[in-house]
Symmetry: D2
Subunit: 133 residues, 4 copies
Protein backbone atom coordinates (compact mmCIF):
# COMPACT_ATOMS: atom_id res chain seq x y z
CA UNK A 1 0.00 0.00 0.00
CA UNK A 2 1.19 3.46 -0.87
CA UNK A 3 0.66 6.36 1.53
CA UNK A 4 0.93 10.10 0.97
CA UNK A 5 -0.14 13.33 2.68
CA UNK A 6 -2.01 16.50 1.90
CA UNK A 7 -2.53 19.73 3.83
CA UNK A 8 -5.86 21.54 3.65
CA UNK A 9 -5.56 25.21 2.81
CA UNK A 10 -8.03 28.07 2.94
CA UNK A 11 -8.76 28.08 -0.80
CA UNK A 12 -10.06 24.51 -0.78
CA UNK A 13 -12.71 25.39 1.81
CA UNK A 14 -15.99 27.09 1.05
CA UNK A 15 -18.28 29.52 2.86
CA UNK A 16 -19.65 26.62 4.92
CA UNK A 17 -16.18 26.36 6.48
CA UNK A 18 -15.48 22.81 5.26
CA UNK A 19 -13.65 21.76 2.13
CA UNK A 20 -15.57 22.09 -1.09
CA UNK A 21 -16.45 18.57 -2.23
CA UNK A 22 -14.58 18.92 -5.54
CA UNK A 23 -11.38 19.78 -3.67
CA UNK A 24 -11.25 16.18 -2.45
CA UNK A 25 -10.88 15.13 -6.09
CA UNK A 26 -7.82 17.36 -6.36
CA UNK A 27 -6.26 15.64 -3.36
CA UNK A 28 -7.18 12.33 -4.98
CA UNK A 29 -5.28 13.29 -8.12
CA UNK A 30 -2.30 14.53 -6.12
CA UNK A 31 -2.20 11.13 -4.42
CA UNK A 32 -2.45 9.42 -7.81
CA UNK A 33 0.46 11.51 -9.11
CA UNK A 34 2.48 10.73 -6.01
CA UNK A 35 1.79 7.02 -6.57
CA UNK A 36 2.79 7.19 -10.23
CA UNK A 37 5.89 9.15 -9.38
CA UNK A 38 6.83 6.61 -6.71
CA UNK A 39 7.33 4.14 -9.56
CA UNK A 40 9.77 6.43 -11.29
CA UNK A 41 12.75 8.55 -10.76
CA UNK A 42 12.40 10.63 -13.88
CA UNK A 43 9.86 13.39 -13.42
CA UNK A 44 8.20 13.47 -16.80
CA UNK A 45 6.43 10.14 -16.82
CA UNK A 46 3.11 11.77 -17.59
CA UNK A 47 4.29 13.77 -20.57
CA UNK A 48 6.64 11.62 -22.60
CA UNK A 49 4.42 8.74 -23.52
CA UNK A 50 2.31 8.23 -26.63
CA UNK A 51 -0.56 7.16 -24.36
CA UNK A 52 -2.44 8.87 -21.53
CA UNK A 53 -4.57 7.48 -18.71
CA UNK A 54 -7.66 9.71 -18.48
CA UNK A 55 -10.26 9.18 -15.78
CA UNK A 56 -13.55 7.78 -17.03
CA UNK A 57 -15.24 7.38 -13.65
CA UNK A 58 -14.75 9.04 -10.29
CA UNK A 59 -16.64 8.80 -7.01
CA UNK A 60 -16.29 9.86 -3.43
CA UNK A 61 -18.04 9.36 -0.11
CA UNK A 62 -17.64 12.09 2.45
CA UNK A 63 -17.83 10.59 5.90
CA UNK A 64 -16.73 13.45 8.16
CA UNK A 65 -16.20 17.15 7.38
CA UNK A 66 -12.63 18.15 6.47
CA UNK A 67 -11.50 21.60 7.64
CA UNK A 68 -8.78 24.15 6.90
CA UNK A 69 -5.56 23.20 8.69
CA UNK A 70 -6.25 19.48 8.63
CA UNK A 71 -3.36 17.31 7.51
CA UNK A 72 -4.68 14.20 5.85
CA UNK A 73 -3.04 10.84 5.30
CA UNK A 74 -4.15 9.15 2.09
CA UNK A 75 -3.82 5.40 1.67
CA UNK A 76 -3.73 4.48 -2.01
CA UNK A 77 -4.16 1.08 -3.63
CA UNK A 78 -4.76 -0.26 -7.10
CA UNK A 79 -8.10 -1.95 -6.43
CA UNK A 80 -8.69 -3.36 -9.92
CA UNK A 81 -6.34 -4.01 -12.84
CA UNK A 82 -7.65 -4.99 -16.26
CA UNK A 83 -6.15 -5.12 -19.76
CA UNK A 84 -6.97 -1.54 -20.74
CA UNK A 85 -8.13 0.05 -17.52
CA UNK A 86 -7.60 0.13 -13.78
CA UNK A 87 -9.24 1.43 -10.62
CA UNK A 88 -7.45 3.24 -7.81
CA UNK A 89 -8.92 3.58 -4.30
CA UNK A 90 -8.08 6.30 -1.82
CA UNK A 91 -8.83 6.43 1.90
CA UNK A 92 -8.47 9.70 3.81
CA UNK A 93 -7.59 9.88 7.52
CA UNK A 94 -7.01 12.79 9.87
CA UNK A 95 -3.92 13.10 12.10
CA UNK A 96 -5.73 11.34 14.93
CA UNK A 97 -6.66 8.42 12.69
CA UNK A 98 -10.28 9.46 12.08
CA UNK A 99 -11.49 8.11 8.77
CA UNK A 100 -12.93 11.04 6.79
CA UNK A 101 -13.48 10.09 3.15
CA UNK A 102 -13.05 7.44 0.50
CA UNK A 103 -12.73 7.86 -3.24
CA UNK A 104 -12.17 5.87 -6.42
CA UNK A 105 -10.96 6.73 -9.89
CA UNK A 106 -11.16 4.51 -12.98
CA UNK A 107 -8.57 5.18 -15.66
CA UNK A 108 -8.49 3.93 -19.22
CA UNK A 109 -5.44 3.78 -21.46
CA UNK A 110 -5.83 5.71 -24.72
CA UNK A 111 -3.53 6.92 -27.48
CA UNK A 112 -2.79 10.58 -26.79
CA UNK A 113 -3.65 11.89 -30.24
CA UNK A 114 -6.60 9.77 -31.34
CA UNK A 115 -8.09 9.15 -27.88
CA UNK A 116 -8.46 5.50 -28.93
CA UNK A 117 -8.53 2.79 -26.25
CA UNK A 118 -5.48 0.51 -26.22
CA UNK A 119 -4.12 -2.16 -23.89
CA UNK A 120 -2.03 -0.92 -20.99
CA UNK A 121 1.62 -1.08 -22.04
CA UNK A 122 3.48 -3.79 -20.12
CA UNK A 123 5.66 -1.33 -18.18
CA UNK A 124 2.54 0.46 -16.94
CA UNK A 125 0.65 -2.75 -16.15
CA UNK A 126 3.61 -4.13 -14.20
CA UNK A 127 4.06 -0.91 -12.23
CA UNK A 128 0.41 -0.84 -11.20
CA UNK A 129 0.49 -4.53 -10.33
CA UNK A 130 3.00 -3.88 -7.54
CA UNK A 131 0.29 -1.90 -5.70
CA UNK A 132 -2.63 -4.18 -6.52
CA UNK A 133 -4.56 -5.16 -3.39
CA UNK B 1 -36.43 19.43 -15.85
CA UNK B 2 -34.08 22.30 -15.21
CA UNK B 3 -31.41 23.26 -17.74
CA UNK B 4 -28.41 25.54 -17.40
CA UNK B 5 -25.16 26.27 -19.26
CA UNK B 6 -21.46 26.45 -18.60
CA UNK B 7 -18.52 27.63 -20.70
CA UNK B 8 -15.20 25.79 -20.49
CA UNK B 9 -12.22 28.05 -19.88
CA UNK B 10 -8.49 27.48 -20.10
CA UNK B 11 -7.99 27.08 -16.35
CA UNK B 12 -10.29 24.08 -16.13
CA UNK B 13 -8.22 22.19 -18.67
CA UNK B 14 -5.00 20.36 -17.92
CA UNK B 15 -1.76 19.62 -19.78
CA UNK B 16 -3.53 16.80 -21.63
CA UNK B 17 -5.66 19.51 -23.28
CA UNK B 18 -8.99 18.28 -21.90
CA UNK B 19 -10.77 19.43 -18.75
CA UNK B 20 -9.37 18.16 -15.51
CA UNK B 21 -11.82 15.61 -14.13
CA UNK B 22 -12.44 17.56 -10.92
CA UNK B 23 -13.49 20.61 -12.95
CA UNK B 24 -16.63 18.71 -13.94
CA UNK B 25 -17.61 18.67 -10.27
CA UNK B 26 -17.35 22.46 -10.23
CA UNK B 27 -19.75 22.67 -13.17
CA UNK B 28 -21.99 20.22 -11.33
CA UNK B 29 -22.10 22.51 -8.30
CA UNK B 30 -22.71 25.57 -10.46
CA UNK B 31 -25.69 23.75 -11.98
CA UNK B 32 -26.90 22.82 -8.49
CA UNK B 33 -26.65 26.46 -7.40
CA UNK B 34 -28.50 27.57 -10.52
CA UNK B 35 -31.24 25.04 -9.72
CA UNK B 36 -31.51 26.17 -6.11
CA UNK B 37 -31.56 29.80 -7.16
CA UNK B 38 -34.30 29.08 -9.71
CA UNK B 39 -36.55 28.32 -6.74
CA UNK B 40 -35.86 31.70 -5.17
CA UNK B 41 -35.71 35.34 -5.89
CA UNK B 42 -33.64 36.29 -2.88
CA UNK B 43 -29.94 35.62 -3.47
CA UNK B 44 -28.89 34.44 -0.06
CA UNK B 45 -30.76 31.19 0.17
CA UNK B 46 -27.58 29.30 0.93
CA UNK B 47 -26.43 31.52 3.77
CA UNK B 48 -29.42 32.46 5.85
CA UNK B 49 -30.62 29.09 7.01
CA UNK B 50 -29.85 27.22 10.19
CA UNK B 51 -29.29 24.12 8.08
CA UNK B 52 -26.95 23.28 5.24
CA UNK B 53 -27.04 20.58 2.57
CA UNK B 54 -23.51 19.15 2.29
CA UNK B 55 -22.65 16.54 -0.30
CA UNK B 56 -22.03 13.07 1.13
CA UNK B 57 -21.55 11.27 -2.15
CA UNK B 58 -20.52 12.37 -5.63
CA UNK B 59 -19.81 10.48 -8.81
CA UNK B 60 -19.23 11.13 -12.48
CA UNK B 61 -18.79 9.21 -15.70
CA UNK B 62 -16.78 10.86 -18.43
CA UNK B 63 -18.06 9.71 -21.78
CA UNK B 64 -16.30 12.03 -24.23
CA UNK B 65 -13.46 14.54 -23.66
CA UNK B 66 -14.49 18.12 -22.94
CA UNK B 67 -12.24 20.84 -24.31
CA UNK B 68 -11.52 24.55 -23.81
CA UNK B 69 -14.09 26.64 -25.64
CA UNK B 70 -16.86 24.07 -25.35
CA UNK B 71 -20.20 25.42 -24.20
CA UNK B 72 -22.07 22.72 -22.32
CA UNK B 73 -25.76 22.33 -21.63
CA UNK B 74 -26.50 20.69 -18.31
CA UNK B 75 -29.84 18.97 -17.69
CA UNK B 76 -30.54 18.77 -13.98
CA UNK B 77 -33.13 16.67 -12.15
CA UNK B 78 -33.84 15.65 -8.60
CA UNK B 79 -33.49 11.88 -9.07
CA UNK B 80 -34.25 10.83 -5.48
CA UNK B 81 -35.99 12.62 -2.61
CA UNK B 82 -35.99 11.19 0.91
CA UNK B 83 -36.78 12.56 4.37
CA UNK B 84 -33.30 13.86 5.18
CA UNK B 85 -31.45 13.55 1.90
CA UNK B 86 -31.78 13.82 -1.86
CA UNK B 87 -29.90 12.97 -5.04
CA UNK B 88 -29.41 15.29 -8.00
CA UNK B 89 -28.45 14.03 -11.48
CA UNK B 90 -26.67 16.06 -14.14
CA UNK B 91 -26.28 15.28 -17.84
CA UNK B 92 -23.78 17.24 -19.93
CA UNK B 93 -24.20 17.87 -23.66
CA UNK B 94 -22.14 19.79 -26.20
CA UNK B 95 -23.60 22.42 -28.52
CA UNK B 96 -24.21 19.82 -31.20
CA UNK B 97 -26.10 17.58 -28.77
CA UNK B 98 -23.26 15.13 -28.11
CA UNK B 99 -23.64 13.56 -24.69
CA UNK B 100 -20.34 14.03 -22.84
CA UNK B 101 -20.73 13.27 -19.15
CA UNK B 102 -23.13 12.35 -16.36
CA UNK B 103 -22.82 13.07 -12.65
CA UNK B 104 -24.71 12.63 -9.39
CA UNK B 105 -24.54 14.31 -6.01
CA UNK B 106 -26.19 13.11 -2.81
CA UNK B 107 -26.95 15.82 -0.25
CA UNK B 108 -27.94 15.41 3.37
CA UNK B 109 -29.64 18.02 5.54
CA UNK B 110 -27.69 18.92 8.68
CA UNK B 111 -27.80 21.64 11.30
CA UNK B 112 -25.14 24.20 10.37
CA UNK B 113 -23.46 24.36 13.77
CA UNK B 114 -23.64 20.81 15.08
CA UNK B 115 -23.46 19.03 11.71
CA UNK B 116 -26.31 16.81 12.96
CA UNK B 117 -28.66 15.17 10.45
CA UNK B 118 -32.23 16.51 10.45
CA UNK B 119 -35.29 16.11 8.25
CA UNK B 120 -35.44 18.35 5.21
CA UNK B 121 -37.49 21.42 6.15
CA UNK B 122 -40.83 21.42 4.34
CA UNK B 123 -40.00 24.47 2.20
CA UNK B 124 -36.85 22.74 0.95
CA UNK B 125 -38.57 19.38 0.40
CA UNK B 126 -41.38 21.03 -1.55
CA UNK B 127 -38.97 23.01 -3.71
CA UNK B 128 -36.98 19.93 -4.62
CA UNK B 129 -40.16 17.96 -5.28
CA UNK B 130 -41.05 20.27 -8.19
CA UNK B 131 -37.98 18.94 -10.06
CA UNK B 132 -38.30 15.30 -9.02
CA UNK B 133 -38.20 12.98 -12.04
CA UNK C 1 -14.06 48.55 -25.28
CA UNK C 2 -14.97 44.91 -24.81
CA UNK C 3 -17.39 43.82 -22.09
CA UNK C 4 -18.14 40.38 -20.71
CA UNK C 5 -19.82 38.83 -17.65
CA UNK C 6 -19.08 36.34 -14.93
CA UNK C 7 -21.22 34.75 -12.24
CA UNK C 8 -19.77 34.09 -8.79
CA UNK C 9 -20.30 30.53 -7.56
CA UNK C 10 -19.84 28.92 -4.16
CA UNK C 11 -16.50 27.31 -4.99
CA UNK C 12 -14.81 30.63 -5.68
CA UNK C 13 -15.67 31.89 -2.20
CA UNK C 14 -13.76 31.04 0.93
CA UNK C 15 -14.62 30.52 4.60
CA UNK C 16 -14.68 34.32 5.07
CA UNK C 17 -17.74 34.34 2.77
CA UNK C 18 -16.16 36.47 0.03
CA UNK C 19 -14.38 35.31 -3.09
CA UNK C 20 -10.88 34.02 -2.61
CA UNK C 21 -8.52 36.64 -4.06
CA UNK C 22 -7.01 34.23 -6.61
CA UNK C 23 -10.49 33.52 -8.01
CA UNK C 24 -10.51 37.06 -9.40
CA UNK C 25 -7.55 36.07 -11.56
CA UNK C 26 -9.62 33.23 -13.00
CA UNK C 27 -12.36 35.69 -13.95
CA UNK C 28 -9.64 37.90 -15.43
CA UNK C 29 -8.47 35.05 -17.64
CA UNK C 30 -12.01 34.16 -18.64
CA UNK C 31 -12.47 37.79 -19.75
CA UNK C 32 -9.18 37.63 -21.66
CA UNK C 33 -10.31 34.44 -23.41
CA UNK C 34 -13.66 36.03 -24.24
CA UNK C 35 -11.80 39.03 -25.71
CA UNK C 36 -9.49 36.82 -27.79
CA UNK C 37 -12.40 34.74 -28.96
CA UNK C 38 -14.33 37.90 -29.95
CA UNK C 39 -11.64 38.40 -32.61
CA UNK C 40 -12.23 34.99 -34.05
CA UNK C 41 -14.89 32.66 -35.17
CA UNK C 42 -12.82 29.50 -35.02
CA UNK C 43 -12.57 28.16 -31.49
CA UNK C 44 -9.05 26.92 -31.41
CA UNK C 45 -7.14 30.17 -31.65
CA UNK C 46 -5.17 29.37 -28.54
CA UNK C 47 -4.02 25.94 -29.60
CA UNK C 48 -3.08 26.07 -33.26
CA UNK C 49 -0.31 28.62 -33.23
CA UNK C 50 3.44 28.12 -32.99
CA UNK C 51 3.51 30.92 -30.41
CA UNK C 52 1.83 31.40 -27.04
CA UNK C 53 1.16 34.51 -24.98
CA UNK C 54 2.03 33.66 -21.36
CA UNK C 55 1.45 36.13 -18.56
CA UNK C 56 4.64 37.60 -17.11
CA UNK C 57 3.00 40.04 -14.71
CA UNK C 58 -0.40 40.17 -13.02
CA UNK C 59 -1.88 42.47 -10.42
CA UNK C 60 -5.22 43.25 -8.85
CA UNK C 61 -6.75 45.76 -6.47
CA UNK C 62 -9.76 44.61 -4.48
CA UNK C 63 -11.98 47.59 -3.79
CA UNK C 64 -15.14 46.01 -2.42
CA UNK C 65 -15.86 42.41 -1.36
CA UNK C 66 -17.38 40.15 -4.03
CA UNK C 67 -19.87 37.53 -2.82
CA UNK C 68 -21.48 34.30 -4.01
CA UNK C 69 -24.39 35.07 -6.32
CA UNK C 70 -22.92 38.33 -7.62
CA UNK C 71 -23.01 38.76 -11.37
CA UNK C 72 -20.09 40.90 -12.45
CA UNK C 73 -19.60 42.99 -15.59
CA UNK C 74 -15.99 43.11 -16.72
CA UNK C 75 -14.79 45.95 -18.96
CA UNK C 76 -11.69 44.87 -20.85
CA UNK C 77 -9.21 47.03 -22.78
CA UNK C 78 -5.77 46.62 -24.25
CA UNK C 79 -3.99 49.28 -22.18
CA UNK C 80 -0.53 48.94 -23.72
CA UNK C 81 0.69 47.40 -26.99
CA UNK C 82 4.37 46.91 -27.69
CA UNK C 83 6.36 44.89 -30.25
CA UNK C 84 6.60 41.67 -28.23
CA UNK C 85 4.23 42.25 -25.34
CA UNK C 86 0.96 43.86 -24.30
CA UNK C 87 -1.01 44.76 -21.21
CA UNK C 88 -4.72 44.13 -20.68
CA UNK C 89 -6.79 45.98 -18.06
CA UNK C 90 -9.98 44.68 -16.45
CA UNK C 91 -12.54 46.60 -14.41
CA UNK C 92 -15.16 44.71 -12.40
CA UNK C 93 -18.62 46.10 -11.62
CA UNK C 94 -21.61 44.66 -9.78
CA UNK C 95 -25.14 44.65 -11.24
CA UNK C 96 -25.91 47.98 -9.63
CA UNK C 97 -22.82 49.58 -11.15
CA UNK C 98 -20.65 49.42 -8.01
CA UNK C 99 -16.99 49.27 -8.93
CA UNK C 100 -15.47 46.28 -7.12
CA UNK C 101 -12.02 45.47 -8.51
CA UNK C 102 -9.41 46.26 -11.13
CA UNK C 103 -6.74 44.00 -12.57
CA UNK C 104 -3.97 43.96 -15.16
CA UNK C 105 -2.13 41.21 -17.00
CA UNK C 106 1.04 41.61 -19.07
CA UNK C 107 1.57 39.03 -21.79
CA UNK C 108 4.68 38.32 -23.81
CA UNK C 109 4.84 36.53 -27.14
CA UNK C 110 7.08 33.43 -27.11
CA UNK C 111 7.66 30.44 -29.36
CA UNK C 112 5.69 27.53 -27.89
CA UNK C 113 8.53 25.02 -27.87
CA UNK C 114 11.60 27.08 -27.00
CA UNK C 115 9.85 29.66 -24.80
CA UNK C 116 11.91 32.31 -26.66
CA UNK C 117 10.57 35.87 -26.96
CA UNK C 118 9.51 36.92 -30.47
CA UNK C 119 7.68 39.88 -31.97
CA UNK C 120 3.92 39.66 -31.92
CA UNK C 121 2.80 38.25 -35.27
CA UNK C 122 1.04 40.94 -37.35
CA UNK C 123 -2.38 39.22 -37.17
CA UNK C 124 -2.17 39.20 -33.37
CA UNK C 125 -0.86 42.78 -33.14
CA UNK C 126 -3.63 44.06 -35.41
CA UNK C 127 -6.33 42.22 -33.47
CA UNK C 128 -5.18 43.65 -30.16
CA UNK C 129 -4.88 47.14 -31.68
CA UNK C 130 -8.63 47.24 -32.32
CA UNK C 131 -9.17 47.27 -28.53
CA UNK C 132 -6.29 49.57 -27.63
CA UNK C 133 -7.45 52.45 -25.45
CA UNK D 1 12.90 34.91 7.07
CA UNK D 2 10.31 32.17 6.85
CA UNK D 3 10.59 29.40 4.28
CA UNK D 4 8.04 26.85 3.12
CA UNK D 5 7.54 24.45 0.21
CA UNK D 6 4.97 23.58 -2.39
CA UNK D 7 4.70 20.76 -4.92
CA UNK D 8 3.25 21.45 -8.37
CA UNK D 9 0.51 19.04 -9.38
CA UNK D 10 -1.20 18.37 -12.69
CA UNK D 11 -4.34 20.38 -11.90
CA UNK D 12 -2.41 23.61 -11.44
CA UNK D 13 -1.00 23.38 -14.95
CA UNK D 14 -2.84 24.36 -18.09
CA UNK D 15 -2.93 23.14 -21.69
CA UNK D 16 0.29 25.10 -22.36
CA UNK D 17 2.01 22.65 -19.98
CA UNK D 18 3.07 25.28 -17.44
CA UNK D 19 1.24 26.33 -14.30
CA UNK D 20 -1.76 28.56 -14.80
CA UNK D 21 -0.79 32.04 -13.59
CA UNK D 22 -3.55 32.15 -10.96
CA UNK D 23 -2.24 28.93 -9.40
CA UNK D 24 0.81 30.88 -8.22
CA UNK D 25 -1.55 32.98 -6.10
CA UNK D 26 -2.78 29.79 -4.44
CA UNK D 27 0.78 28.85 -3.53
CA UNK D 28 1.24 32.40 -2.27
CA UNK D 29 -1.73 32.00 0.06
CA UNK D 30 -0.55 28.59 1.22
CA UNK D 31 2.79 30.20 2.13
CA UNK D 32 0.94 33.00 3.93
CA UNK D 33 -1.08 30.44 5.91
CA UNK D 34 2.08 28.52 6.75
CA UNK D 35 3.65 31.77 7.98
CA UNK D 36 0.63 32.67 10.10
CA UNK D 37 0.47 29.16 11.50
CA UNK D 38 4.18 29.27 12.36
CA UNK D 39 3.26 31.97 14.90
CA UNK D 40 0.72 29.72 16.58
CA UNK D 41 0.19 26.33 17.94
CA UNK D 42 -3.56 26.39 17.91
CA UNK D 43 -4.93 25.67 14.44
CA UNK D 44 -7.90 27.98 14.30
CA UNK D 45 -6.14 31.34 14.29
CA UNK D 46 -7.96 32.39 11.14
CA UNK D 47 -11.42 31.61 12.38
CA UNK D 48 -11.70 32.67 15.98
CA UNK D 49 -11.03 36.36 15.73
CA UNK D 50 -13.44 39.25 15.39
CA UNK D 51 -11.22 40.64 12.65
CA UNK D 52 -10.03 39.27 9.32
CA UNK D 53 -7.09 40.25 7.11
CA UNK D 54 -8.41 40.33 3.52
CA UNK D 55 -6.09 40.99 0.59
CA UNK D 56 -6.61 44.39 -1.05
CA UNK D 57 -3.74 44.17 -3.52
CA UNK D 58 -1.87 41.28 -5.10
CA UNK D 59 0.78 41.10 -7.77
CA UNK D 60 3.18 38.60 -9.28
CA UNK D 61 6.03 38.52 -11.77
CA UNK D 62 6.63 35.26 -13.57
CA UNK D 63 10.30 34.95 -14.36
CA UNK D 64 10.63 31.36 -15.54
CA UNK D 65 7.95 28.77 -16.39
CA UNK D 66 6.93 26.43 -13.55
CA UNK D 67 6.04 22.87 -14.52
CA UNK D 68 4.20 19.84 -13.10
CA UNK D 69 6.47 17.93 -10.74
CA UNK D 70 8.48 20.99 -9.69
CA UNK D 71 9.01 21.36 -5.96
CA UNK D 72 9.28 25.02 -5.09
CA UNK D 73 10.86 26.71 -2.10
CA UNK D 74 9.08 29.90 -1.09
CA UNK D 75 10.90 32.55 0.95
CA UNK D 76 8.38 34.71 2.79
CA UNK D 77 8.95 38.05 4.51
CA UNK D 78 6.81 40.83 5.90
CA UNK D 79 8.03 43.62 3.63
CA UNK D 80 5.93 46.45 5.06
CA UNK D 81 4.10 46.85 8.36
CA UNK D 82 1.72 49.75 8.99
CA UNK D 83 -0.96 50.48 11.60
CA UNK D 84 -3.87 48.84 9.77
CA UNK D 85 -2.19 46.99 6.92
CA UNK D 86 0.86 45.03 5.90
CA UNK D 87 2.60 43.66 2.83
CA UNK D 88 4.04 40.18 2.45
CA UNK D 89 6.60 39.26 -0.22
CA UNK D 90 7.16 35.79 -1.62
CA UNK D 91 10.09 34.53 -3.70
CA UNK D 92 9.85 31.20 -5.51
CA UNK D 93 12.86 29.00 -6.27
CA UNK D 94 13.20 25.59 -7.90
CA UNK D 95 15.11 22.70 -6.35
CA UNK D 96 18.29 23.73 -8.12
CA UNK D 97 18.00 27.28 -6.80
CA UNK D 98 16.63 28.85 -9.98
CA UNK D 99 14.57 31.92 -9.17
CA UNK D 100 11.18 31.49 -10.87
CA UNK D 101 8.67 34.04 -9.55
CA UNK D 102 8.04 36.81 -7.07
CA UNK D 103 4.73 37.94 -5.58
CA UNK D 104 3.30 40.39 -3.07
CA UNK D 105 0.07 40.60 -1.14
CA UNK D 106 -1.23 43.60 0.79
CA UNK D 107 -3.60 42.81 3.65
CA UNK D 108 -5.81 45.19 5.59
CA UNK D 109 -7.32 44.56 9.01
CA UNK D 110 -11.12 44.79 9.09
CA UNK D 111 -13.89 43.82 11.48
CA UNK D 112 -15.33 40.52 10.27
CA UNK D 113 -18.99 41.56 10.31
CA UNK D 114 -18.92 45.21 9.19
CA UNK D 115 -15.86 44.97 6.92
CA UNK D 116 -14.68 48.24 8.57
CA UNK D 117 -10.94 49.03 8.69
CA UNK D 118 -9.39 48.92 12.16
CA UNK D 119 -5.86 49.03 13.55
CA UNK D 120 -4.00 45.74 13.65
CA UNK D 121 -4.50 44.21 17.11
CA UNK D 122 -1.23 44.29 19.06
CA UNK D 123 -0.85 40.46 19.09
CA UNK D 124 -1.10 40.41 15.28
CA UNK D 125 1.21 43.42 14.83
CA UNK D 126 3.84 41.90 17.11
CA UNK D 127 3.68 38.54 15.37
CA UNK D 128 4.17 40.08 11.95
CA UNK D 129 7.00 42.27 13.25
CA UNK D 130 9.11 39.21 14.00
CA UNK D 131 9.29 38.54 10.23
CA UNK D 132 9.67 42.15 9.11
CA UNK D 133 12.65 42.59 6.79
Amino acid sequence: MFTTKVKVYFYDADPAGIIFYASLFKYVHAAYEDLMRSFHTERDYFFDKEYILPIIHAEADYVRPIRVGDELRIDVIVSLLKDSSFEISYKFYKDDGTFTAIAKTVHVCVLKEQFKKIELPKECYDMLKTNLA
